[in-house]
Symmetry: C2
Subunit: 366 residues, 2 copies
Amino acid sequence: MSGTSLDGIDVAIVDITGKRVKPIITRTFPYAKAAREAILSVSNCMTHTATIARLHFLLGELYAEAIREACKRVIKLESIGLIGMHGQTIFHEGTPIEYLGHKVASTLQIGDPAIVAERTGIRTISNFRERDIAAGGKGAPLVPYVDCLLFQHARKPRVSLNIGGIANITVLPPKNSRKNAFAFDTGPGNMIVDALVRKFTDGKQTCDLNGDIARRAKLHNQLLEGMLSDPYFDLAPPKTTGREQFGQDFANGLVATGLPLEDLIATATELTARSIALAITKHASPDSEVIAAGGGVHNSHLMARLSSLLPAARITATTEFGIDPDAKEAIAFAVLAHEFIRRRPANLPAATGARRSVLLGRETPR
Amino acid sequence: MSGTSLDGIDVAIVDITGKRVKPIITRTFPYAKAAREAILSVSNCMTHTATIARLHFLLGELYAEAIREACKRVIKLESIGLIGMHGQTIFHEGTPIEYLGHKVASTLQIGDPAIVAERTGIRTISNFRERDIAAGGKGAPLVPYVDCLLFQHARKPRVSLNIGGIANITVLPPKNSRKNAFAFDTGPGNMIVDALVRKFTDGKQTCDLNGDIARRAKLHNQLLEGMLSDPYFDLAPPKTTGREQFGQDFANGLVATGLPLEDLIATATELTARSIALAITKHASPDSEVIAAGGGVHNSHLMARLSSLLPAARITATTEFGIDPDAKEAIAFAVLAHEFIRRRPANLPAATGARRSVLLGRETPR
């Protein structure tokens, strides 16, 4: 997995037996600066076709290297049965637009699975999002299906929360209830804050470690309320968003206000907390157990704000379930690859808006 | 199949039983002007990621429509077992370059197979070129493997010649000999001529129909010899080239000479004939049977020039073998898809330069 936050490549080695999903090891291989910059240079912007093609193959090499490295001294490469490879999203437009006479939604992940399969000798499943879009869905989020497998409880209401670049929740009603799980992006996760921190620290820090900057800075309530009036937060789920909406451009807009950068970091952090809390309050049981994952769980200020905004909920992390919160998405794509080879449709129409459940993925033989 | 000449989408419905390959129907669905222009706007040039992503999905729709239309009144869609989908190449760089510390060759085809599989309900094989590149090959040409299956003779030396945007040959020594087949791009096919004709006719014609323009215009020998001194023609096979080298930019360079456009068309046509003849003379038996396909076979002036440049050879077309010369590549990708599901490696290392034979393709289930 390599997400829109561009932290790097998350590798999860997972033992899947029947319904039991047991992570063996999870590791992150940070992108080198040049690779991160190259990815940014092709992500939803003007670029050259050549750069996309070259990066497509280079990322295949980097993924393969990360997988080989993660296996070292842990497990023999030959004993890995299957790779689930998300790829690097460089464009995502879940809502169809009018394009040359057709209604077209689209998504584009790069990172060549043929390189991964050839370098590792392992069967590789990729391109998980496209089929959901083909079936009328938004191509995201896909993890909610895995949330159901891993976290849905017989009697307790739960919410699976992921705070990556974008934040999203899966509402998990008790299995015994008649309600079905559904999921949506709540809005910004760490992406705006990270962009502001890079600016504030001249690139020395890539995130607000432990929320230390936000905690001591000043909230600008008028700005916050203005941001919360964004129509996205009122849209009915399922809905999806991305770097296009809550990324660098958004951060640039904040910087243009001329307010002190640390205050903007505090205010953007509060935007993340408030938009998540709002979504949970509106769409889940107030007494849900909220199981958090993603980089945001390390921001103790953000987590404290969430607890305070959701007094009836119990906020916990996936760690309680044996799952590294930094690797949940990587683990999820291992599970999705496994579902693919078992020929089990693995999109949740209540999460993506698809007309039907479809098989997610495309297979490159070993 | 949709080639670099951007004529449109070639659909071949093929009955494959064991080693017997029997085309049932072949049809071309020309690209609408807007689609052709959109493809050109993302082919090896500055563009926006969004355009590539949207076109990726739009082309999936167009491919699916073409397949459905081709089946009408011919065969029930449900009785098609398999789709082989080449996609539209928007970048190809078979020779590795240094990129962010890695040696990277690359290729990029768009047209989403998930859309095709979802709209048709048919298992779809795509991304044929990537694995060959992963195995150290140039990712092209891939048809030579199919040439061996279809045309290699027990005792007679043959050459399979394809004159598409780029021209390429497969040298087919007799099966009984100890020599192995190999293949390479000879250089320009119709791409330069077509670009000049579009300019000459203000876009009213897209090719030199029957060679009528070239036949009556004047050859510029000095220009011709200059072009033939391009180092590409001296490179040892396997070698591959494309729009990057012999496309619009090349045509623009010719126009810049200020010579009359019809003379440039004649001279560029002769460049195609001479470079093909040179390749056959150098690398095949002079008395080979040359089995031609691709749009170039309709240019009788070009074919006459070839006959005259290769007096000992017998020049014929794939029609003699029951194969529509306009649809040979489309038929070839049906055969390659079939080889994939039979798990037969289908690159010819002597054609692509790959280190080993590998399975070509990636599978999207129906």
